[in-house]
Symmetry: C2
Subunit: 195 residues, 2 copies
DNA sequence: GCTCCTTTGTTGCCTAAGCAACAAATTTTC
DNA sequence: GAAAATTTGTTGCTTAGGCAACAAAGGAGC
């Protein structure tokens, strides 16, 4: 979206990718807390000092991993924004649920710590996505920009909260039913702002 | 075999592998003559100048590709040397035939030029392999070292000649029969040197 | 023939990555 | 709970790789 014309050194790109891939690979057999920076560097075929030149620690790394992963996932799912708030919110809930189960499927049990890091990043990405969507597709011209930002923040937390509730507690319930119950609440928050 | 304790910079290792892999990938869709150094560098995500720091040109690259490939192939096939000259020669012929067909299978038609480069490298590897084999496993103590070297040279060319003949002309014939016909000639050359 | 365009090697300067050694924190082991 | 062993960040110096610009050598097209 943003025409970031900042040229990145190809070595930097390659190294970051190597590190990201290394972590993904390691998480198939070890827990996140078990993995050491040493192992990551080794698996990435880079020097440990180089790791620290890119990430302050392994938590910063996992932040980026989740962020990139979820962003790509979302982009692929939402090539063009759904045409109504209802459909948009449905799509978001679907995406979060699928992404979460995918992550937990291919990475050997993450431990709570990992989950909370992931949650932070995903909410951040959601807020950004919703913000753009609000700006482009919802006619709330009468609403001030700051109001929209607050709405985006609130919605991102709400969406995640609902999705997390299903993931952790209500998983026995059918996902589609759950989504149908949840979406009206979210859409309601938006409609409430329309004058 | 040789305890080469020369430490190689990990960047060098990685770059060489990237270049090798890039060529293999490109050869799936293009002919060797069609591939440019530019494309190789791009596919390897390295700079063109870096390519030239490693290989004088793409012919030197393919030399190494074949050499490494055939060496690994041979090592995997001959974990322990077969116990008799007959079996050793059988194994060699088998290996060459299989390797050749494998190469031509996964790389889109190589053109004659490629074949002649490959031939040179394979014969070189064969000579080295045979030399070691002669030194360790054949009791020709009475024969001078220079004589052995000559024998190794001759055998490498002979083996390749026979294999190539089958690959290019006699492919209709059953490989096993062909090998059975050929091996006595090779073994004969060795036996002739025994006093 | 001629031009235009691409590919090829080469060079000097700049930047990212490797290394070794370090102190500080953490975990393991007995 | 003390000693031993890992792991963690950090640092200064070395080296491989990126970049841009160059001359030279094909090709393709007219």
């Amino acid at each position: 979206m943003l025409g970031n014309a900042v040229k990145i050194d190809p070595r930097t790109k390659r190294t970051r990718k190597l590190i990201l891939d290394a972590l993904i690979q390691l998480l198939r057999t070890r827990t996140f807390e078990e993995v050491t920076v040493n192992e990551i560097a080794e698996a990435a075929t880079i020097n440990r000092a180089t790791f620290y030149a890119h990430f302050s620690d392994k938590y910063a790394l996992v932040d980026e991993l989740i962020r990139d992963g979820f962003m790509m996932f979302l982009d692929r799912r939402m090539q063009h924004y759904p045409d109504t708030p209802t459909r948009y919110m449905q799509a978001l809930l679907w995406a979060i649920a699928d992404h979460w189960t995918m992550i937990h499927g291919q990475c050997n049990q993450y431990h709570r710590f990992f989950d909370s890091l992931a949650e932070t990043q995903i909410k951040r990405m959601l807020e950004q996505h919703i913000q753009t969507w609000l700006d482009h597709y919802v006619p709330l011209r009468s609403v001030a920009a700051t109001q929209r930002q607050l709405l985006a923040t609130m919605l991102s937390w709400s969406v995640f909260a609902l999705a997390a509730r299903w993931l952790y507690s209500d998983r026995c319930q059918n996902l589609e039913n759950f989504i149908n119950d949840s979406v009206p609440l979210l859409v309601g928050s938006i409609e409430a702002l329309k004058v």
